[in-house]
């Protein structure tokens, strides 16, 4: 049954069918061929997956990110980042990474971060004689920080799929996100030295920095409200997402005054479609995952994996290689809905903390945003710079390499992920 399910899925995938439909269709046909379960169960599972209050944090955070971006936040964050790191070698590259980190603390989505910052920074880098493929590859990778630094759509999906606390998962991603960001900045530094990309030339005075902090303060406050609210027990992650959407609305319309009432319908529709694609793929993936569980595939996989990798060190290495491979081909939320419940029993058996497993999985899958053939960030970034995917693919290698180094560090030092949830946990 598992074999039918996966071979149908791969067949449909190759045929270029939208991934959400590939997943749902292979689930439906497998049930029809291999079981006498009534097929109506597929529609029921899809309904049940979306009919979830915790899951609704996803659309709210997407709306919040869109409101913040259109409300003039991106530009203010870029100004702040330039005054902080613009004078370093590869200045605009450093600004790209740091701004993406700031924006990631507002947005939970990789493509959204790439689009919001990249549409300004990629042309800016090109104007200053940075190579176009460098600018594109850097922005695509920096955008992958979006779902790693909280809030994060992937962590919400992981929390809902496994029943772990979304708040703890959010916190666990903060330090790894910063580490990946720093590793990208170091990579930019090295490449910039070699290619002669210089900084902006003038070092900002403390006063300039302070003015930029003040201008961006409404954006910088948002992660504090979200994480503080969740951890102070004031609201659930979904309610925090509602509050950030309202906050984004108020800041954009009444404080920065760049958001007009007539823009709202368009922003709402666009974010609704973006989040629908995520939720729809989660819906079909949950039907797929249900079939795996009735076929008792999770326990088979667990036994198989423990058989080939009897030590946790080896197991985690295999896990990373497997997830990097998966991330190249499958929509990431679908990968989480299908694989997280599948792998969780093995991880627990081998003594890996569930939250740590979540951090490894999400960090790893974030790299899937920049690995072809299915790297959504790559598509967004190369759409902005009008480059072909092949030209960006080479330039991306050093950045992915740096991120993989950090991934391994995160994998083998659990306290990097578990420190914040432990210290701030109630």
């Amino acid at each position: 049954m598992g074999i039918i399910l996966f071979s149908l899925f791969i067949l449909f995938l190759i045929a270029g069918i939208p991934i959400a439909v590939c997943i749902g269709l292979s689930a439906l046909l497998t049930l029809a061929i291999a079981t006498n379960v009534p097929l109506v169960v597929v529609a029921q599972r899809m309904y049940a997956a979306v009919d979830s209050f915790p899951m609704m944090a996803i659309p709210y955070f997407i709306v919040a990110g869109a409101l913040m971006e259109r409300g003039g936040i991106s530009r203010r964050l870029i100004n702040l980042a330039s005054s902080l790191v613009g004078s370093l070698p590869g200045g605009l590259g450093q600004v790209t990474v740091l701004t993406s980190m700031f924006f990631a603390a507002i947005s939970g989505s990789g493509p959204a971060t790439t689009a919001a910052i990249g549409s300004i920074m990629i042309p800016a880098m090109e104007r200053h004689n940075y190579s176009r493929s460098f600018a594109t590859a850097l922005q695509a990778t920096a955008g992958a920080l979006g779902p790693l630094i909280p809030p994060s759509i992937l962590f919400i999906t992981f929390g809902v799929a496994t029943g772990e606390s979304v708040g703890a998962l959010f916190l666990s991603g903060a330090i790894p996100g910063i580490l990946v960001g720093l590793s990208l900045m170091v990579t930019v530094f090295i490449i910039a030295k070699r290619n002669g990309y210089v900084g902006t030339g003038h070092r900002s005075s403390l006063k300039d920095i302070w003015i930029n902090v003040k201008n961006a303060s409404w954006a910088l406050l948002m992660p504090i409200i979200i994480l503080g609210g969740i951890y102070g027990g004031i609201f659930t992650p979904t309610e925090a997402a509602v509050v950030s959407a309202v906050y984004g609305l108020i800041v954009g319309m009444f404080i920065y005054r760049e958001l007009k009432l007539q823009d709202l319908a368009g922003i709402f529709l666009k974010s609704a479609v973006t989040s629908s694609m995520v939720m729809y793929v989660i819906a079909t993936a949950s039907a797929f995952s249900w079939i795996l569980s009735i076929a008792q595939i999770p326990s088979q996989i667990a036994n198989f994996m423990i058989g080939i990798a009897p030590s946790p060190v080896l197991l985690l290495l295999l896990l990373n290689i497997f997830l990097l491979f998966v991330g190249c081909f499958i929509e990431l939320n679908a990968a989480i809905v299908i694989l997280a419940p599948l792998l969780m029993p093995v991880m627990i058996k081998m003594g890996v903390h569930p939250i740590h497993f979540g951090t490894i999985m999400v960090t790893n899958l974030c790299l899937g945003l920049v690995t072809p053939p299915l790297g959504v960030n790559l598509y967004v970034a190369s759409g902005i710079s009008k480059l072909r995917l092949e030209d960006v693919s080479k330039a991306i290698i050093p950045f992915i390499g740096a991120a993989i180094v950090v991934l391994l560090i995160i994998t083998y030092i659990p306290s990097i992920s578990l420190y914040l949830p432990k210290v701030l946990g109630r």
Partner: protein, 161 residues
């Protein structure tokens, strides 16, 4: 024929306005829920259920808009490696499969709705008929099937030119 074109266009407008309206409702009601719990120390009994139902409609209608905009992610690299006639055949087959899947969800969704109407099931908090949220799945999947069909027709007619 002209009539059909006009009705498809206005259907598109209607759908888009409805989605934007639903998101507005979601933000207003969501905020009411937070404030009532935080400020008035009592949670609304109906808001969470209403929001869940709203997002079911948003998800399935939004998924259909995404089909029209060809925004759903797919792996097309492998298909592009094939000779052109095979590519077209692959895309046509893919669209037919997609139409079949959405059609199946409409069919089974209608089965669920029929049972719910016959047994007069009501939701727990608001006590509204349970077929209302399920109708979102059916209508959205139906619209998706139509959009896949439109994509198929435009592909085939462009081949003719």
């Amino acid at each position: 024929m002209g009539f059909i074109v006009i009705s498809v266009i206005s259907l598109k407008k209607l759908e888009e306005r409805f989605i934007a309206f639903l998101i507005t409702v979601a933000i207003v009601v969501g905020f009411m829920q937070v404030t009532s719990r935080f400020i008035f120390k009592s949670s609304l009994p109906w808001s969470e259920e209403l929001l869940r139902f709203v997002f079911i409609w948003v998800t399935f209608l939004g998924a259909s808009v995404a089909v029209r905009e060809k925004a759903h992610v797919s792996v097309s690299v492998l298909l592009h490696k094939l000779p052109v006639p095979f590519q077209k055949a692959g895309i046509v087959a893919g669209l037919l499969f997609s139409i079949g899947f959405c059609g199946a969800i409409v069919y089974y969704g209608m089965q669920i709705i029929t049972v719910q109407v016959l047994t007069n099931q009501l939701s727990t908090a608001m006590e509204i008929p349970m077929w209302l949220p399920y109708l979102g799945v059916v209508v959205g999947s139906f619209m998706m099937a139509i959009r896949f069909l439109q994509n198929l027709i435009s592909l085939l007619t462009e081949q003719g030119n």
